[in-house]
Structures are given as structure tokens and as C-alpha cells.
Symmetry: C2
Subunit: 332 residues, 2 copies
DNA sequence: CTGTTAGCGCCTTCAT
DNA sequence: ATGAAGGCGCTAACAG
């Protein structure tokens, strides 16, 4: 079922068959149709490996993500997948479970797999050994969700967005506003959002209580419930992501608190599911699917140009405060 | 950076380098170490395309899924990804958006991409043109979530599980139990679950009201809210998947109904998020990640044996009723 | 416009 | 245990 068989059956050379597929204009309409017909009859499908070997282009993109269990990244991957297919690229996703050594393994794996380019969400661009390795190979790549002056990135201004969210809570009369985050060291996003929180509090002239850091997902609800039962508790929580926001709401209920009556909760990410919950999640919505799409577009464009992407190509997409039902005016 | 360079620098033949990597036992420990050292120095990485071209094995699996926006499939893909990496395979996922023609395109795409095997979640195995095409090529494949006597499948007994759930609702005193489903024609899973519902109702000697079919996700909540405001409304809803269950709960709230006080809701899928919601989702939990993992294992095993998978290899995994807070005894 | 041909990098007999 | 050489299927010069 090779190009040879098609050429033989059609009575032309392999070069003609190749041209008929890759440069239809460079062959007579008659021969092109002949070749196409024979190819169809033989169920001929070009061999991708042979083509890749010859052209040195695999038309495959590697994708490195923390996890697919967070809908944020699933939505992003969906966006990547669509854009990739549209651009004639296949994608090879690898998840790292937020582990640094897995990031390196993933990059190694994908590089060995001959991908033409990489989209990655890393823990922290500044300290990523995986990125160093990648850079030294010259393979085009783009970071999604990460933000760093030395790398091409597609993301949003999480810091400003959180500061804005805090300002809104203040306008609603909240004073004791706490922030809930996963392990701060595990992601630059978390750090940026935390900075935004601190800025927001400072701008409002409020003291920022200590960050509520929730290391393990399993114990998150219990830990939060405990905190909410303290004599002096926050009236509003700014959560570093929607999953934490959902768990915070659950913790509130377990503590006998009504959301938003007794406690306001703001998330971050804008997962689609949030809109179907009760209360509907108030959150800072990122364009997750678009982050994926734009990352692909940037990468494909760069690869077409032959050059690796520059940090200057970075994109800062808008995100917006999505009003839901988990936020209300502070009780007096 | 080819095997040639390594051979030259190490002063051995390319054959020896190849052996050092693929059959370490077939070379002297000394030469093996020499080759490994030189390879490391040169940052040599075997070229996957060349190897694939030569061996006719890509060590890549194609995955065809409806969507990643439903956490069910995201969880499954995560399971697939883990098992694939463990088995030395890369995965190439393609989503179809529940569209038949996309299924065919996906299969075509992946076949052209030289995958060694395919895992797919199709709309309906009985009517799938994509499967016919696939079968005729002899490429090993396995269906996930689908169930059909003529194909190798990895799934659960959704029919029995729903019948059991209905029985539990009946025990709680419910009589007016309705079923909520997406487009029935769009998936064999939905059909199986509906049959389970009908069976459960019949077993309890109850009349099954007409299926509540929700064609469009966007209008689901509105449609459901409308139904719940009828003079005679169900006291319990069995939903064909967790996303519908979540929307049903929202519709209930919008209608002023308390869940589970006024309305019990049972989902199907067991998405992880369900446990963090309030009320925690009562659902029929499938082992989504395991469905993915076992699919890969079956496929890899079959490919090692050289034969395509037989329908007899199908796996019916256990699923279980996961008690949450969205279900309670019927009000008298 | 079409054909001939030389590799792309690797594995794998077949010799040695 | 190691080396030499053919060829997997394809594309891209280069001829004609």
C-alpha cells in the first residue's frame, strides 16, 4: 500500500504520485485524477513516518500539562486540539501531576517523539530544568498560563484580575477577606494571584491575613471547615482556582455557613461547570479554550517562519470577572 | 545527531550502536558503556520516525473521544495517558463532539498517523461507519464505554446499574421517578441507561413517565425548571450523566425546590467533582480512569500477540452506587 | 509535465 | 561480538 504500488497501478512514477498529493498544481489534471482514483481504489494512505523522516517535520505538537482532572486544563487542551487539527497538526499530550521531574521526563519523551513544537504549562518558568533542556535544543515552544519575560507565553494578567476582585469585595463591604491557595511554591500562577490579592488588600488599606495554603486536595474541605469555624472568620474568600472555590463552598456548608449570605466566595479559572452550580460560581474567568488555541496559532506561525518563538511574541489575553451567586454584600 | 555520528565517534559500526540500545545483552559490557557514554555526550536521541518506518510500529495509540469538556472523558483520558506512558506508548487524542462524521474523520486521521492501535468512544457501535472502516484495516482497537457483542469493549453494565438505582429510589418511597437524558439517539450508553430505568420501573410495578430528553446543553436548565414547575412533578430524577444531574439540581433550585428535600437526583458517571458539590452528588460511579487504563492494557497485550482484539476479550468492570446528599426519602 | 535517483535514520539479516 | 549493506516509504533535486 505504498506510493510504489499506486505508481505502478497508475502507470506513472512515484514522483508523480507524490506530486499529485503534495502539489496538485504541478501535474496535469488528467494524471492527478488518475492518481487519485487509483489511490482511492487501493485505499492508499501516505505513510506519515516516511514523510516525517524525509521532510524532518512530523506535524505533531507535544503538550505538557499538569493534569486533566482540573477542567481548566481539559478545556485548554480541547482548544489546543481544535486548533491543531485545523492547522494539520496532531497533538501528543503528557501530564505531569504538578511534579517537576515529570516535566522533564515529559519534555524528553516528546522530544524523542519528534514533535515539531511544544506547548507547556509548567510549574514555574524561572526554575524549570525542563525549559532549559528544551531551549538548548532549539525546538519551538510556547508556555500557556505561565508568565515570564524570557519566554513566549500565552496567559492572562492574574495579578491584576485578583486585585480587581478584591476591590469588588471591598465595595460589597467586606473587610476580612482571606485568600485560599494550593501549594504556593508549586506554581507561578498561584504566586501571581497571591500578589494580586496582597495588592488589592493594600490598595484598600486592609490588613491581609495569612494565606490559607491547602497542600492536599483530599484534606482541603476539612481544613477549610476548621478555619471557618474560628471565632473570627473571614467574610469573603478569594480562591486561587475554581476547584478550591467549590471546596470552600462545601466547607462553608459543612460549617453551617450560607454562601453567599454568611460567606462570599470568588474563584479563578472560569470552568464551564461553575455556571451550572448552585450557587453559580462567581469567578475570574480565563478564556481557557482560547489560551489553547492562541498557543497553537503562535507556535504554528513561528514554525512556518522557521524561527523559534521570541518572548516578545507573548500574548496577554483578557480575563473577566464573571458574576455568579457565590458573592454578596457583607453582613453588617 | 544520528546513529551514524555516535558510531563514528565511538569507533564502532552503526549496527553496534543500534544493538547497544535495543539489545544491550548482545554487546560487550565495555562497548555498551562506551556507546552509552558517547551517545550521552552527543545528546543523541533515536529518531522515532526512522525507527517506525523500519519496524512498522509507531508505539503510538490513537484515542477518539466525544469531548474533554465532560470530566468523565477527561478522567478516562488521564487513565489512558498513564497506562500508555507506562507501556511505552504515546497517545494522540482526537475529539468528535458527538458527531458521526467527526468520528470517521478522526479514525481516518489517526490511521494516516500510523498509530498502532485505537481506543475509541463512539456514538453507537452498531451504526458506526468509522468502525467498519477501522475493522477493514485490521488495526487493533478497543471501544471504551460502548457495549456491543461484535466488538472488544471495556465498560460497565449501565443498564443493571440504573435499574438498581431505581430500586433504591423506590425503597426510599419514591413513585414518580423520571429519567433525564441527552439525545437518546446520540449514544448507546444513553439507550442502555434508559433501558435500565424502564426495567427498574417495571420491576417495581411503576409506570415510567416519558423520558425527559434534553437536546441542547444550553437550554437544559430552563427546560428542566419548566418541567419541575408542573402541577404533578416527579419526586426523583435519574439522570443519564453527572452533568445533567448538576443541571437538574440547579433547575430544582431555580424552581424553588430543595434537593434532596423536595426532589432526589441521581447522576451517572462518578466524576470526581461530584463529591465536592453541595449537595454531594449521589451517582452511579464508573471507574473512569480504570476504563482507560484497562483499555490500553488490553490493546497493548493484543498488539504484543500480533492479533487484533476479539470481542470475547471485552471487559465489564464493576460500577457502584455512590451515596451522596442529593437523594433522600420521598416526602409523604 | 514527468521520470530517475539519492538519501532521511534506523533495524536486521548475513557474513565475518 | 561486530561489521557491511539493503531497504522501510517518501520527497526533492536534477534531468529530460
Amino acid at each position: 500500500m505504498s506510493i510504489q504500488s499506486v505508481a505502478a497501478k497508475a502507470g506513472v512514477s512515484v514522483a508523480t504520485v507524490s506530486r499529485a498529493f503534495n502539489f496538485p498544481d504541478k501535474v496535469t489534471p488528467a494524471t492527478r485524477e488518475l492518481v487519485e482514483r487509483v489511490a482511492r481504489e487501493l485505499h492508499y494512505v501516505p505513510n506519515a513516518s516516511a514523510r516525517t523522516l524525509r521532510t524532518q517535520r512530523s506535524r505533531a505538537l507535544g503538550v505538557v500539562l499538569p493534569t486533566l482532572l482540573n477542567p481548566t486544563f481539559a478545556e485548554c487542551l480541547q482548544g489546543i486540539a481544535h486548533a491543531a487539527v485545523a492547522g494539520g497538526y496532531a497533538i501528543i499530550p503528557v501530564t505531569t501531576g504538578y511534579q517537576l521531574d515529570e516535566e522533564e521526563r515529559a519534555v524528553h519523551l516528546l522530544l524523542a517523539g519528534n514533535v515539531d513544537g511544544l506547548i507547556l504549562v509548567v510549574s514555574n518558568p524561572s526554575t524549570s530544568a525542563a525549559l532549559d533542556r528544551l531551549r538548548s535544543t532549539g525546538t519551538p515552544y510556547v508556555l500557556a498560563y505561565n508568565r515570564h519575560p524570557d519566554h513566549p507565553c500565552v496567559t492572562v494578567d492574574g495579578e491584576a484580575a485578583v486585585a480587581d476582585a478584591v476591590a469588588r469585595l471591598v465595595l460589597l463591604g467586606h473587610r476580612r477577606i482571606a485568600m485560599v491557595s494550593g501549594t504556593l511554591a508549586a506554581s507561578d500562577r498561584a504566586q501571581q494571584r497571591y500578589r494580586g490579592y496582597q495588592k488589592g488588600m493594600a490598595d484598600a488599606g486592609l490588613d491581609a491575613p495569612a494565606l490559607i495554603e491547602v497542600p492536599f486536595v483530599e484534606s482541603a474541605v476539612d481544613l477549610l471547615a476548621q478555619l471557618l469555624q474560628a471565632k473570627v472568620r473571614p467574610t469573603a474568600l478569594v480562591c486561587s482556582n475554581d476547584l478550591l472555590a467549590i471546596r470552600s463552598i462545601r466547607a462553608a456548608h459543612l460549617s453551617g455557613l450560607d454562601v453567599p449570605g454568611d460567606l462570599s466566595v470568588v474563584g479563578f479559572d472560569g470552568i464551564a461547570l461553575g455556571e451550572d452550580l448552585t450557587p453559580a460560581l462567581t469567578t475570574i474567568a480565563q478564556p481557557n479554550s482560547e489560551i489553547g488555541r492562541r498557543s497553537v496559532e503562535l507556535l504554528v506561525q513561528a514554525m512556518a517562519g522557521g524561527a523559534a518563538l521570541q518572548a516578545e511574541a507573548s500574548l496577554l489575553l483578557p480575563c473577566f470577572f464573571r458574576d455568579g451567586e457565590s458573592c454578596a454584600a457583607a453582613a453588617i
